[in-house]
């Protein structure tokens, strides 16, 4: 009896295996079939984004911006007479995923260029793959300088952390009138580590003092210990160069501990989830970012109007604007290159000059980074509020 049972199980297992294998063959066959049919009349562009997970707000905004740009380009006849086919992959905000999905975009979908990511850590994972396969990659909003240092095929359309750090140091000294600063940074995010470094140098050079430096890791929830130590050091303001998920909790817990001094951070704070998490506690906090929807220039207002029409009245944030710009820079370069050949396309992107974008006039320098101005935003009555624009 037992013997028969075992045989049955074996047989069933083999059948299952065969079924799975045949499914796989069928699925991969389908993929190839679809590809050869579509390749002729469209230009394939890959996008990888954190559509889910801890930085989902970034990925969603950025993706919506890119999608709007592509739809608009296609509605105006596409580029080189062909429509752009945007293929989006989700890395779920997880480390280790980006390299795999970008490899998939390049080898399976044969994309001619890759757009992504917001978080510097994940852009750094995908950049070597694009560089190796000589596929141009444009990061919409990774600010860590190392991203474009990966190689000559990697570009970005946002300012870099050395600039953002200098600007925040200037803001802390001039606007907040702070001499003593405490820093609470995320050791697990290259973005946070980089921004801390680029803030500290100009701030200390300008006569400022770092009175406490505490650290945490992404996905931590309890910051009360670090904040209590910071409170004891008696700073004038606290610099939190992290992402919004943790920044919201940090602001909330700081206020719970009776810390009333200003907290400020970088563009990693920019997400509506920040307000959902921290609510009233956010009064008296500031962050620097790439653009403000309150800007009255016609190109910004037109973008805001189109975005709201497309996405149920949602106001685009900086990540959406940069996602939009990244696709526009690529489309402009393809048009100028006159081909999708990767070397020529790379040269065309590198030659981008004075392109009018939503986040300002864009010229890429020899290091494939743009020089742009930044804005400071605060939170008032549960809404983001524009404070000032700082130019380099």
């Amino acid at each position: 009896m037992v013997k028969v049972n075992n045989d049955m199980k074996n047989w069933r297992g083999q059948f299952l295996l065969a079924a799975i294998l045949s499914c796989l063959v069928w699925v991969s066959g389908c993929g190839q079939g679809g590809q050869s049919g579509a390749a002729a009349d469209t230009i394939k562009v890959g996008e990888y984004a954190s559509l889910h997970g801890s930085e989902a707000a970034f990925g969603q905004s950025s993706h919506k911006g890119t999608l709007l740009a592509v739809e608009q380009i296609n509605a105006n006849g596409g580029v080189l007479g062909k429509k752009i086919d945007l293929i989006t992959e989700d890395n779920q905000s997880k480390p280790g995923e980006s390299a795999t999905i970008v490899k998939k975009l390049i080898t399976r979908d044969h994309v001619i260029a890759v757009l992504g990511e917001v978080a510097s850590g994940r852009s750094l994972e995908a950049a070597p793959i694009c560089q190796e396969d000589k596929i141009p990659m444009i990061s919409p909003s990774s600010t860590n300088p190392k991203v474009t240092q990966t190689g000559d095929y990697i570009f970005r359309v946002c300012f870099t952390d050395p600039f953002q750090g200098k600007l925040l140091a200037q803001f802390a000294r001039k606007t907040l009138k702070a001499n003593k600063i405490a820093i609470l940074s995320d050791v697990a995010a290259p973005y946070s580590v980089g921004l801390t470094k680029y803030f500290r140098e100009p701030f200390v050079a300008d006569g400022g003092q770092i009175v406490a430096e505490q650290k945490y890791s992404s996905h931590d929830k309890d910051f009360k210990a670090q904040l209590t130590a910071i409170k004891a050091a008696n700073p004038d303001a606290i610099f939190v160069p992290g992402y919004y998920t943790e920044a919201g909790l940090i602001v909330l817990q700081a206020r719970q501990l009776g810390i009333t001094i200003p907290l400020f951070g970088g563009d990693g704070w920019e997400a509506p989830e920040l307000i959902q998490t921290a609510g009233k506690a956010l009064e008296g906090t500031y962050y620097s970012t790439h653009y403000s929807p309150e800007n009255t220039s016609p190109i910004v207002q037109e973008f805001v109007k189109k975005f709201q029409a497309r996405f149920d009245g949602e106001t685009p944030d900086a990540m959406a604007a940069l996602g939009y710009d990244s696709a526009m820079v690529l489309a402009d370069a393809i048009e100028r290159a006159g081909t999708t050949d990767s070397a020529k396309l790379r040269d065309a992107i590198a030659a981008t000059k004075d392109l009018q974008c939503v986040t300002g006039k864009l010229t890429l320098d020899a290091d494939r980074n743009p020089t742009k101005s930044a804005v400071i935003v605060t939170v008032k009555d549960g809404k983001f509020k524009y404070v000032e624009t700082i130019s380099p």
Partner: protein
């Protein structure tokens, strides 16, 4: 001195939450001699039940007045918060019993390793189900209890959520102590943990007692989940992993299978973690916490309060 006292309060409230989770591990270990790794996911489900109940005023059926107003749980009130914790505890108690019935009971007489691996499987299953059902993005937790800060002399601040954590934990620990030491079912639980065969010989229904143990442990985890989310109001389906692991360490530290030991271990862990975090070595917090575990186990292999049992042949 102020900093020291403030860290003491922070550490105690963190340790109190660990204690609620650690008790579930230690109770199940006491009666079944295996680690229920799915426990950390019960903790997560508890937090999510609280999340949806806390958002009740925003439900469709509430906004359209399809249910009477007195049935709606008010937000930001002590009453509402207590009801939410109780409902989540009942829901997770049922979940714990179901997990035991479906996953562990069929394997009752197999080797502990089989059950242990099943437990890891159940844990991953719940994590991934959570990602599908609740969505993988972090969610901002609603204010279940009224929120305010209490300023004490000497620049010391205690938030109301820390007070809630301490009060609820003390109340639940007292309740658990009463059940285990004074009631018939508690005596049955202890009998089972001494010797299951002898317990069934004197007429104890082992299946029922084991189900009850799971229900009790899971209910405590649910309360822990809500209290954790109140203090750190951003939840996601993977939130259980780290606190779950720490609570497990706390249970081992105090002597697994021993109830006061689990509570003591949790308090020690919460305090050590908080003090290290507030120092210059904050990056090494987890390394230091786990080194302490190794050190204690080197000198006291059965944990702080655990008694070393010699295998009888």
């Amino acid at each position: 001195m102020t900093e020291f006292l403030q860290q003491l309060v922070n550490g105690l409230s963190l340790g109190a939450i660990y204690a609620l989770i650690a008790l579930g591990y230690t109770m199940v270990y006491g009666v079944l001699r295996f680690i229920n790794f799915a426990h950390m996911e019960v903790f997560m489900v508890g937090a999510f039940v609280g999340y949806y109940l806390g958002r009740m005023p925003e439900w469709g059926i509430v906004r359209h007045h399809w249910i009477p107003a007195w049935l709606v749980i008010p937000s930001e009130s002590i009453w509402g918060g207590t009801i939410i914790i109780l409902i989540a505890m009942i829901a997770c108690g049922v979940l714990g019993v179901l997990i035991e019935k479906l996953a562990y009971r069929p394997l009752r007489n197999r080797s502990t390793l089989t059950v242990l691996i099943t437990a890891i499987g159940v844990s991953l299953l719940l994590q991934n189900l959570g990602q599908i059902v609740f969505g993988p993005d972090p969610k901002a937790y609603p204010q279940v209890f009224p929120e305010s800060n209490i300023s004490l002399p000497d620049n010391l601040t205690i938030s109301s959520s820390q007070i809630v954590v301490l009060c609820v934990t003390i109340l639940l620990l007292w309740g658990l102590h009463y059940i285990v030491s004074k009631t018939r079912i508690g005596i049955a639980m202890r009998a089972l943990s001494f010797n299951p065969t002898a317990a069934s010989l004197v007429g104890i229904n082992n299946d029922f007692v084991i189900s009850f143990t799971f229900a009790l442990g899971s209910a405590l985890a649910a309360a822990g989940g809500i209290l954790y989310a109140l203090n750190y109001p951003s939840i996601d389906p993977l939130m259980g992993t780290l606190p779950g692991l720490k609570a497990f360490v706390a249970a081992v530290l105090g002597g697994i299978g021993d109830l006061p030991g689990a509570a003591l271990g949790s308090l020690i862990l919460g305090l050590v973690e908080t003090f290290v975090r507030g120092s210059h070595w904050s990056t090494y917090t987890d390394a230091i916490v786990f080194s302490i575990l190794i050190l204690i186990l080197l000198f006291r292999p059965a944990g702080l309060l655990g008694k070393l049992e010699t295998e009888k042949v």
